[in-house]
Symmetry: C2
Subunit: 347 residues, 2 copies
DNA sequence: CTTGGCACTCGACCGGGGTGAGTGCTACGG
DNA sequence: CCGTAGCACTCACCCCGGTCGAGTGCCAAG
């Protein structure tokens, strides 16, 4: 058993991975030897395949079937063998066109992105919206709905709107609210959200000292409105039914597991968050996700960013048997376009 | 073959429907005769069952299996045999508690409702948000994001926030926007949305006559912001993976179809919309939905409303083999609670 | 009209033989 | 020492026939 991978074994591994990706059937020595006319007899290929299995790149479902790649096999393929298939101009155009009708509000853009990802990859698209911490203050507004109930609307510089109804207990006079709106909009405009929060805290302390109860309450209101949202709500998924067409999900039990993950979202949040902290393209293969419920699945993700840094991540989830060479450029280009669209907002 | 349904046939039909709902297995004459000690021999039951089959209430999957209810059978059961199992105080309380933490913004309430529906019924919950036409003007706000781009925020009386970014082409001065905000908020407050639209149209005509280009543009802006949204986006679904546990969906192909429907939503919009136009509880059984993709499924829906009329509908979707007696009260009570919560907003 | 009896039907389950793809091993030749 | 050809072996898959049993339909008796 050769320990190292020479050129030949790599070629053969590549052939097997690609055949398996294309056919979803275990691939045998003969088909490798024939289809990829590399001048080797099936017997030779067999020897190599036995080595590859020994090294953990391949596995056989049972004795007389062919071999299928393991997670490690896919990983090696992706890291060292894979050739990206760059997008054709026409495909790039198709991605861009997707956003033509959107109004460039960040959630609109992301919604289009997730649709586009799922449509192009023919798997499920997932997008994680930026955490509100990453935004910049643009505008705040208080709308009294009823005595003791105020709707607080917060707008970030990128046009994202977040709103909350807050029970104030007491009835805040419209004049105070208006005054405060003007003040906050003047002072906070353009500041990153965490700075805004700090400032609000400082001012609250001051208002407290001055026994300005009303002002303190309104400030508290703004603070509450700027609090973070449920993380799970920030994930968009689309095209999950695409995955159902894949032969590996003919088994009902696996489908169930997968759909539970989609519905629950927290595991996806975890992965997308890990991806966000990295930079650029990230690929999780099978058990590398360390979520056994999505065993057999891979995630291809990329980060999108503005000049102020990475703000979120997006990608595609599908079976590990995935044409990475095609999916990666799709994810990559989508992330670029999204970054670009959001960047334009920032001027 | 008796044409009419006498007391005995009804009892037997009831027994069969209920056994089948409980077990998901075709039910035979013997089990009916034994389990529901009605003093009839299996043979007699068989005769009756043959009649019921002849009348279209039952069907046999194959010669030597028992009988299962047809859509018509379920319909008869629901219309004339069904006894509702009223909610226990504890269950009602559980439903109410669900909304305790919500901030009573309409979309929050509906999101809680859909969760609660799916959790209690153990099927998928669906909710359709009111169309924006049904709302009442409360507040509008223009936030200039960049030269030529304005974010328009519209708030309805029930605290629903809708926002749109609009490309204005030219740069509208902040002063004009502010002036217009004040004007609209003063004049339109409390008017139903269609009236607001009319008024805007009238004022636009007037502005045109007076060659007040700026004002005309801002009015156009408001008009655009009040335009309806994508209908499909107004449907919430949750708990779809509950349905996967049902034995009737062991077949992968059916699951696929169903999930396509969930993802596409338009067929659900259609049904919920039909339900909204009716009043109170509505039940669609199997093919009555006239959407063949959800054959074998039933929908139990109810409308929620304020004193100004029905505004939306919500319900549960699951297999036709559904314990209607339990599901109907859940849906009914949820609709009541939602109505009540929204009503409170209106004061 | 009800009931017991009985033959019949038909899917589910089981076991066995045949088939074929694919393997591992071994012996041979460059 | 490496590549190749040959060969026996393995094992999933398919098809077949037989058995089993639940449930029916029908009939004749009460």
């Amino acid at each position: 058993m050769t320990i190292s991978m020479n050129e030949r074994s790599r070629k053969i591994l590549e052939a097997i991975v690609e055949d398996y990706i294309a056919s979803a059937e275990p691939v045998g020595s003969k088909s490798v030897s024939c289809r990829h006319q590399m001048g080797l007899s099936p017997a030779t290929v067999r020897n190599v395949m036995a080595d590859l299995e020994g090294m953990g790149y391949l596995a056989s479902p049972h004795a007389s079937a062919g071999r299928i790649p393991t997670d490690k096999g896919y990983r090696f393929y992706v890291d060292t063998l894979l050739q990206l298939r760059p997008l054709k101009a026409e495909e790039r155009e198709r991605i861009e066109r997707q956003y033509a009708s959107s109004d460039r509000r960040i959630d609109e853009v992301l919604r289009e992105a997730v649709k586009s990802l799922s449509r192009l990859s023919r798997y499920a698209g997932i997008v994680m919206a930026p955490r509100i911490e990453a935004t910049v203050f643009r505008h705040i507004d208080f709308v009294p709905l009823a005595p003791g109930r105020v709707l607080v609307i917060f707008v970030s510089r990128s046009g994202e709107v977040q709103n909350k109804i807050i029970e104030t207990g007491i009835n805040l006079p419209a004049a105070t609210l208006e005054q405060m709106t003007n003040y906050l909009n003047r002072v906070m405009n353009g500041l990153p959200l965490d700075t805004v929060r700090e400032k609000i805290a400082v001012e609250m302390a001051q208002a407290k000292m001055e026994h300005d109860d009303l002002q303190q309450r309104v400030l508290a209101l703004s603070g509450q409105a700027l609090a973070g949202e449920d993380e799970n709500a920030r994930v968009y998924i689309e095209g999950t039914s695409n995955i159902l067409d894949q032969p590996e999900f003919a088994d009902v039990e696996r489908m169930r597991q997968l759909y539970r993950v989609f519905e629950q979202k927290s595991q996806l949040v975890d992965l997308l968050d890990r991806s966000r902290r990295a930079h650029g393209i990230q690929i999780f293969i099978g058990n590398e996700t360390s979520h056994s419920a999505i065993a057999g699945c891979s995630l291809v993700t990329a980060t999108y960013e503005t000049r102020e840094g990475t703000i979120g991540s997006l990608g595609v989830i599908g079976p590990s048997r995935m044409p990475y060479g095609q999916v990666i450029p799709i994810v990559d280009y989508t992330a670029r376009i999204v970054s670009q669209l959001l960047e334009e907002e920032y001027q």
